[in-house]
Subunit: 251 residues, 2 copies
DNA sequence: AATTTTATGATTGACTTCGATCATATAATT
DNA sequence: AATTATATGATCGAAGTCAATCATAAAATT
């Protein structure tokens, strides 16, 4: 009973964006106290955000704990993103991967607009830049993953082949002596398709990911154009990362 | 001064989704009264929605006055959408066009889920159905139009060719003796590309659009599989609409 | 059946927000 | 410079919201 109701509330919230306590009472024939208790419970489990007098969908929740991940190593991500934008020249067509670092990069582009074409498989990135007048945004096609707002799959891979990128900014889950890793096969398949269509590409990974592995190997070091990270070159090399100065950028 | 500040507020809100009055005061060194006046003004011009203690981005505004258009002829759209879902069988791959009627249709699918593959060029439709467990959602690729959350352009057209649809549900701006019309060339180009890849297609248009024209002719009547509308067949034929009973469905 | 746990509704007082009103300050117009 | 219009801040009573507490009802456990 109680779980059903709370389920119904989150469902309702998905459509409504905002839900006042008073309306909750009317809709479910519930006292204010219970309504508040429901909202408190839901906000505790992070599926909604409380406001004074109501609640709203955690906007960024649509991107599966995106907000939380954004906060992790936020300063490192910020530095990496900053280095990355410095590589971007007006008129370029760039690819922005799905990921928190590239999302941060998109934030920088939004604040300091350049004339660009941006292609992405992330709805978060796309929607962030769609309003910027100087930027033309294209989305890849493909399967829309539930709770992630990311496009993947065969069609996404084929979609990538329909573009050419001057620069691709890719994110990753881990990097070690073998190379750069990511979370799933379909993710690295897309990233490889993008790399093939790019003049240059950069891997944007922060120090938390050094020395780790993830389920799918994206690329060995010799295939990687540029590593942008907050790890010092010496430290990276000590961990077996096979990059030289020409393929490395300190954030 | 005042306009700049209000501009800044909407900009801030784009990132934040929610903005409490108190924070507004701090950020802009402003009294509560002014903060409230700003929010009231912005909500009057519909760019934000007021809540008790703050304001939030008009969620649906991301889809350019989508909310307003949804309300127009809502009952007719509801009926049309209902007729349309009745045509959908489990296992089908269907295309849902961008538009308020097809968005309503998506709402019905969300409430009464079938096992389906849904392809769309509308982010609103895609995000609405992405969470439904039985439905696999694919987005077309293409240019993301600012303030519309719709994918269009050459790449979108080519993307359409990567699928095959058992049924395509298309929306339109107008219909008269000549056929069915829509708002722009790039819109009808995509719709034609979709029609070519569909076993069947249905035009979903409500009575307000009868006897009108729009900038681009989508298709003449002889090329149209099915018209779903709340206009009676006799009335439609009286207005020159060249459909017979086999190609017509009353909503 | 008795007992414990959980969910709910009602009440309370503290706190917050609201809109209205008024006085002041700043900007625009004459 | 004087006047008018607009924007702002402060105050205040009304109304709304909150968390806490308590009593009751329903459900689960024994």
């Amino acid at each position: 009973m109680i779980d059903e109701r709370r389920e119904a509330i989150t469902l309702l919230l998905r459509d409504r964006a905002y839900l006042p306590v008073a309306e909750l009472c009317k809709r479910f024939r519930i006292s204010e106290a219970t309504a508040r208790r429901d909202l408190e419970a839901l906000s505790r489990q992070k599926s909604v955000v409380r406001t004074f007098g109501g609640a709203l969908v955690d906007y960024d929740r649509r991107f599966a704990s995106f907000a939380d991940r954004l906060k992790l190593a936020a300063t490192a991500k910020g530095k990496i993103a900053k280095r990355a934008v410095e590589l971007i020249r007006p008129g370029m067509t760039i690819f922005l991967d799905a990921g928190t670092t590239t999302f941060t990069l998109a934030g920088l582009l939004q604040k300091n607009p350049l004339a660009l074409t941006v292609v992405t498989n992330s709805l978060a990135v796309g929607e962030k830049l769609a309003h910027v007048p100087t930027i033309e945004v294209s989305l890849l096609g493909g399967r829309l993953l539930p709770n992630q707002a990311v496009l993947l799959g065969d069609i996404a891979n084929k979609s990538a082949a329909m573009h050419h990128f001057d620069f691709a900014f890719l994110s990753a889950e881990a990097f070690d002596a073998e190379g750069v890793w990511n979370s799933a096969d379909n993710v690295v398949e897309l990233e490889r398709a993008v790399m093939e269509r790019s003049t240059r590409h950069a891997m944007c990974v922060d120090s938390r990911k050094l020395g780790k592995q993830a389920p799918a190997l994206l690329a060995a070091w010799k295939k990687i154009d540029l590593l942008i990270t907050d790890v010092l070159l010496d430290e990276a090399r000590a961990a077996g990362v096979d990059v030289d100065n020409d393929h490395y950028l300190l954030a």
